[in-house]
């Protein structure tokens, strides 16, 4: 483990970046370290963490806006919102179980990874709700993008560029997120279907209904597949809509309804990829495809002795299988063949160094991407080699 710098304020982040710049020494950028082990390992003598930058800086429930320093634990944000009956829209995951970590995810890390939970299918991703952020670029300057209002098209949208950039373009120091009222009630319809194709068809029918489905997962269990469809709203609406939904999805298989508490626990599990029951020595792939192509990815996983669970109506496929270059090629190839994209989400370091963890970009885009990286991080200080081999 490299030596860690963990400043307690933005000025400290700036000083650390400027020192690294003067010394021409790269930095491994991280938040609390809850997802340490994702993407490719960074070769850097020092790491710079935002874990010391904590605290909610602005919360206006009536304006649906919360701002917090990057190192603020996700749980603290959730608790602050819950006091006013609100929640983070994208249902961001913790993933401590996936990465075998105990550190709480930071809100800055959640944004830097742009990871979203089941509600993403209907209500948008983490990046869709980043209304503003502050970050320190490779020149040691603080750059603001967006702001603290819900609609803003002033200038280039660097909020989206930085969201999901995994600390490679700048060090996020503060984020402002749109939030919404938390629904009064939740309920989930479970349907026992014979196979994945039927399960995904049931999810499509649910998502294509007028009832505002906010979660749609398919979980293979022994010889059948459970399709799970969630409703979240005022209690009376959930009751009414569940009745209608049961009618619409009546032909897909035997039904069971999970009420509020059970439903919430179930979706927390889906969010944390728990139903996949990953073994410690297995690798995990995260595949994005159009939902109806989910079963084809599952078939490719099955061919290499792997297992899957599907979220987002079938369009997010989690694959568990033994870590090998051949298996990575099989899953990446299947994703590409379906017009989608695979990410090697968790694997031993040796595999992450041996293969592209993300699909390669087309050459003209890669060229522009290198120039954008240069524009934000001219010295190549931040997380070198984290996303792609340098």
């Amino acid at each position: 483990m490299s030596a860690m710098i963990a400043p307690v304020d933005e000025a400290g982040i700036i000083a650390a970046v400027q020192a690294a710049r003067a010394a021409r020494e790269p930095l491994a950028i991280e938040g609390q370290g809850s997802k340490r082990g994702i993407l490719r390992p960074v070769q850097a003598a020092r790491s710079l963490s935002t874990r010391g930058l904590t605290g909610v800086t602005l919360y206006r429930p009536a304006e649906l806006i919360i701002s917090a320093r990057a190192g603020t634990p996700l749980a603290e944000i959730e608790a602050t919102l819950a006091e006013k009956g609100q929640h983070l829209i994208a249902e961001s995951p913790y993933l401590n179980g996936v990465f075998g970590t105990s550190a709480p995810p930071s809100i800055g890390g959640v944004v830097a990874a742009n990871l979203s939970g089941p509600r993403r299918i209907t209500w948008g991703a983490t990046r869709d709700h980043v209304m503003g952020l502050r970050f320190v670029n490779g020149a040691g300057e603080v750059i603001r993008s967006g702001g603290r209002v819900l609609k803003n098209v002033t200038g280039l949208d660097l909020c989206k560029l930085l969201s999901g950039s995994y600390g490679t373009l700048g060090v996020i120091t503060e984020v402002t997120l749109k939030v919404l009222p938390a629904p009064e009630a939740s309920a989930t319809l479970l349907i026992e279907t014979p196979d994945l194709a039927s399960a995904v068809a049931a999810l499509s029918a649910g998502l294509g209904s007028p009832f505002g489905v906010s979660g749609a997962a398919a979980l293979p269990v022994k010889d059948h597949v459970i399709a799970a469809v969630r409703l979240e709203d005022f209690a009376a609406s959930v009751t009414y809509r569940m009745e209608k939904l049961r009618g619409v999805l009546g032909s897909f298989g035997t039904q069971r309804v999970m009420e509020d508490a059970e439903s919430r626990i179930f979706w927390r599990g889906v969010r944390e990829v728990e139903p996949l029951q990953v073994m410690p020595d297995e690798a995990i792939w995260r595949v994005s495809v159009r939902p109806s192509a989910g079963p084809q990815i599952a078939a490719a996983a099955s061919a290499i002795g792997g297992r899957v669970m599907l979220d987002w109506g079938g369009g997010l496929v989690w694959v568990a299988a033994s870590p090998s270059i051949e298996n990575h090629a099989a899953i990446s190839g299947a994703a590409r063949a379906q017009g989608g994209a695979a990410m090697l989400f968790r694997a031993p370091e040796s595999l992450r160094l041996a293969v592209p963890v993300l699909p390669e970009e087309a050459a003209p885009l890669a060229k522009i991407g290198a120039r954008v990286k240069e524009a934000l991080d001219p010295g190549g200080l931040f997380n070198p080699g984290h996303i792609r081999a340098a």
Binding site: S116, L150, D157, G164
Partner: protein, 482 residues
């Protein structure tokens, strides 16, 4: 008046040769070069600014767009992308030495997929055209800018357009899956696809709202959504702006997310009522239009809750639509707001700042004071749920002084928006109109950072010049006005 960069004399001198080259790339009637046919392209929705372009080219395929851009890049010719030309910020204003690339002929709907809930359409398909193509099957495309009958999806992507229903459904960026994108070097890139959130840099997010600075979008993959069972509106009118603002806070605080929450001030209520006879209360200082969705029973329940909340704020009028027809009547005035103001004033400027909603009373009071100061009337309509203000400043374009006062008044409103924690533009874009105000919202080094990213896509700054960024400043030497 806005300053445009001096045209490049060597380009103007080569006009005939350039037009001949364009005709080879876009055969048939795809190149417009004669004065009278160029005239419609000299301006857009911000008609106060006009400039004839060098030529207009109307490609029918992505490959033609790529060929035109590759040629323009090699020859150092400036390019102005254009959708339907409805920009309210002058985003499609030509330059004298620029080729306007119009996207209207890329108007095919390529694929509609209900199982996976997306549609692939050409950049020249109108916003409403997408919804029209899927509504018989119960689906819609969510962002609904008021220009939706005319504006094109390619322009919506470039401006990250919003609309009245973004509080629930988000803006363009939140409803996109992918684009076909042509760089100034003529490379065709597939960004995103038919899936959600693949890992890697969010080029789609950066391109959306980039106002033609980074490249040209020729094809768009959007999410289509199943429509709710139904929707219905109510109207609530109050004695003061402060009280109406407090009612908005209480509605949001109750846990209800209305699909639309619109605010109108007294001058706007009067203008709309005179125009649409929608039955708006003329003695009100402020009025809200609130729309909810769901089954009839759900609409009843939500509207009853909202009515109870509004009742706590001494409303002078509360009218819940009983039927879809009554709902349409409530919307009729609001939807005609711009036309209504156009009827009582020869011209108006439509501003577009966003503010934290808690600042609404203070901001509207200051706008009222400025209105007296500048001697120009203003009507305010406002997406109250998300803080997006649309002050309509009335002036007379035949009176140069009146126009200059209107511009200065508008600039003061936008500065005020930034001062109270908001921004210059919520959905219309910076364009040419607010270019010189960017220094109010951003520090010089922040603008330099944005310019450096623009340069990564467009090293010679040929794409949509003189928009978004002030002409002076680091990294923009090529554009210095003469």
């Amino acid at each position: 008046m806005i300053t445009l960069p001096a045209p490049k004399p060597e380009i103007l001198a080569r006009r005939a040769e350039i037009i001949a080259a364009l005709c080879a790339f876009v055969p048939g009637d795809g190149v417009i070069a004669e004065g009278i046919r160029l005239k419609p392209y000299e301006t857009d929705g911000l008609a106060a600014y006009r400039q004839m372009p060098l030529a207009v080219v109307l490609p029918s395929t992505t490959e033609q767009v790529a060929a035109v851009l590759r040629y323009c890049n090699e020859q150092g010719i400036r390019v102005v992308p254009r959708g339907a030309g409805t920009s309210l910020s002058g985003g499609a204003l030509p330059l004298a030495d620029a080729v306007v690339v119009g996207l209207m002929r890329l108007n095919a709907i390529h694929e509609i997929n209900y199982a996976d809930r997306y549609a692939v359409v050409g950049a020249g398909v109108t916003n409403i055209g997408i919804t029209k193509a899927v509504e018989a099957d119960g689906f819609f495309y969510a962002p609904d800018p008021s220009s939706q009958l005319a504006c094109m999806i390619g322009g919506n992507v470039m401006m990250n357009s919003g609309g009245a229903h973004c509080l629930k459904y988000g803006v363009t960026a939140n409803n996109l899956l992918g684009v076909k994108f042509v760089t100034i070097e003529g490379e065709v890139l597939e960004i995103g696809g038919t899936y959600l959130d693949a890992a890697g840099y969010d080029w789609l997010g950066l391109i959306t709202g980039s106002e033609g600075q980074l490249g040209i979008v020729t094809e768009v993959t959007v999410r289509i959504l199943r429509s709710a069972e139904g929707a219905r509106a109510m109207l609530a009118a109050f004695n003061s702006i402060e009280i109406a603002g407090a009612a908005v806070d209480a509605i949001i605080g109750s846990g209800i997310i209305p699909v639309a929450l619109e605010f109108m001030d007294k001058p706007c209520i009067h203008a709309c009522e005179a125009f649409a006879h929608a039955g708006y209360p003329l003695d009100a200082e402020a009025m809200l239009i609130i729309e909810v969705e769901g089954s009839i029973a759900e609409q009843d329940a939500l509207l009853a809750r909202i009515k109870d909340i509004c009742a706590r704020f001494d409303p002078i009028s509360l009218k819940v639509a009983e039927t879809a027809e009554q709902s349409l009547a409530i919307w009729k005035g609001r939807k005609g707001a711009f036309g209504a103001v156009g009827r009582i004033s020869p011209d108006y400027l439509c501003m577009d700042g966003t503010i934290p909603t808690s600042e609404l009373p203070r901001v509207l009071r200051r706008i009222g004071e400025m209105s007296d100061q500048y001697g120009l009337k203003v009507a305010n309509v406002f997406h109250a749920g998300d803080g997006n203000l649309h002050p309509l400043i009335m002036f007379d374009a035949n009176d140069a002084d009146s126009f200059h006062r209107a511009e200065a008044f508008g600039a003061d409103i936008l500065k005020l928006c930034v001062e109270v924690g908001g921004c210059l533009t919520g959905e219309h874009g910076v364009g040419v109109e607010k270019r010189d105000l960017m220094t109010v919202q951003f520090q010089p080094h922040e603008l330099t950072q944005q310019r450096a990213i623009k340069s990564a896509f467009d090293p010679d700054w040929l794409l949509n010049p003189a928009k978004v960024f002030p002409l002076q400043g680091a990294l923009a030497p090529a554009l210095a006005a003469e």
